[in-house]
Amino acid sequence: MRAVSVEEAVAMIPAGASIMVGGFMGVGTPERLLDELVRQRKSNLTVVSNDAATPGKGVGKLFDATLVSRLTATHIGLNPKAQQQMLAEQVAVDLIPQGTFAERIRAGGCGLGGVLTPTGVGTLVAEGKRQIEVDGKAYLLETALRAQFALVHAFLADYLGNLAYALTSRNFNPVMAMAADTVIVTAEHIVPVGVIAPDHVMTPAPLVDYLITNPNG
């Protein structure tokens, strides 16, 4: 792991990159990385994120700045700008069930080719997918999902890269931290090594590539 500034970290992300962004309605989202993506105007992004948050918040900022060309999410109902951009075909949106979204990312991070889920059988979600029976019950084969970059927000990080999340800001951060080639992390608090008890580490250090230094040093 390397500690870098937010400017350095975002400079590594090319326009057109695929990025997974942690958070649920903007809670647990690495806001400083998104602000910097906007400042550096990284356009044409493929975004994997639970939702489109709201204008001005979380992933919503990327829609405000029209930097997104593809979105894989579970709902965008609370962001009118994302909906407009989808209807205007400026953004290609793939909407998938939230449990399937979590499992596809987990599979991507855990070396699985996919999972069999009952969710979506007999619905529009099944279109174009393989349906597989196990013990007489039908499942959809949902394949692994990965990205070039994962942008993750933790509550605590140490200088080895161990992470702990707080309350409902955990959400998709742990699975995304396993499912990308490069993992970039912001944290509310950076603490000395050993402060996070081994049992309370939620993302082990070797998964983290870059930790953004905090503004107050």
């Binding site: 709902h75 109902g77 609370l78 069930p97 449990g99 009952p118 979506g120 742990p174």
Partner: protein, 216 residues
């Protein structure tokens, strides 16, 4: 008592002691208001919490403790948090005893449509499909009709949420179950007759020998 309160109060009676319960947005959220703390029901918020408590007092909100809509909530003693893979493992794995969801349509076989109006409302299904596929019991809490049109239909013309039928529908007029795969009028709302329910319901309803009035 308004329509929403009737629905919420009646749904609350379906919850058993110690149940793990997931409430959708809208009318389902109101159900929590009518559940006695003595029941020790666990409420799950699918963004990663079991043990959801009431809206926090002013000044006690925390930005990292929110519901699935991103609004501040509280956590009761004995609450637990987890990531989204675990949250939906609980949902899909049948560990949620009851989920209460809103509906756009429920058809005569119990199929629910609640996530999409093609060409109009395409916000995404969020967790709805997993909840209907995985929860032990699925209860739909909704108005019986919208803009004068029955939401209990012969066959859904909106995209389905799941091919698994729901367990129960509670509306401001009636409680409807699906024994044997057929919509069956189980109860009527206070002051509403069987005939009145039949008149405003598109789907054919099977009637039991007696159709008692809801106790709420």
């Amino acid at each position: 008592m308004d329509a929403q309160e009737i629905i919420a109060r009646r749904v609350a009676k379906e919850l058993k002691p110690g149940n793990l319960v997931n409430l959708g947005i809208g009318i389902p959220t109101l159900v929590a208001n009518y559940v006695s703390p003595e029941l020790k029901v666990f409420f799950q918020s699918e963004n990663g919490l079991i043990g959801t408590g009431p809206i926090p007092e002013q000044g006690m909100e925390h930005p990292l403790l929110t519901d699935a809509g991103g609004r501040p909530i509280s956590a009761l003693p004995g609450a637990s948090t987890f990531d989204s893979a675990m949250s939906f493992g609980l949902i899909r794995g049948g560990h949620v005893d009851v989920t209460v969801l809103g509906g756009l349509q429920v058809d005569a076989r119990g199929h629910l449509a609640n996530w999409m109006i093609p060409g109009k409302m395409v916000p995404g299904m969020g967790g709805a499909m997993d909840l209907v596929s995985g929860a032990k019991r699925v209860i739909v809490a909704m108005q019986h009709a919208a803009k004068g049109k029955s939401k209990i239909v012969k066959q859904c013309n909106l995209p389905l949420t799941s091919d698994r039928p729901v367990s129960l529908v509670v509306t401001d007029l009636a409680v409807i179950g699906f024994p044997g795969g057929r919509a069956t009028l189980l109860e009527t709302a206070p002051g509403v007759s069987v005939g009145e329910v039949m008149a405003v319901t598109e789907a054919e309803l099977v009637l039991g020998d007696t159709v008692p009035e809801m106790k709420i």
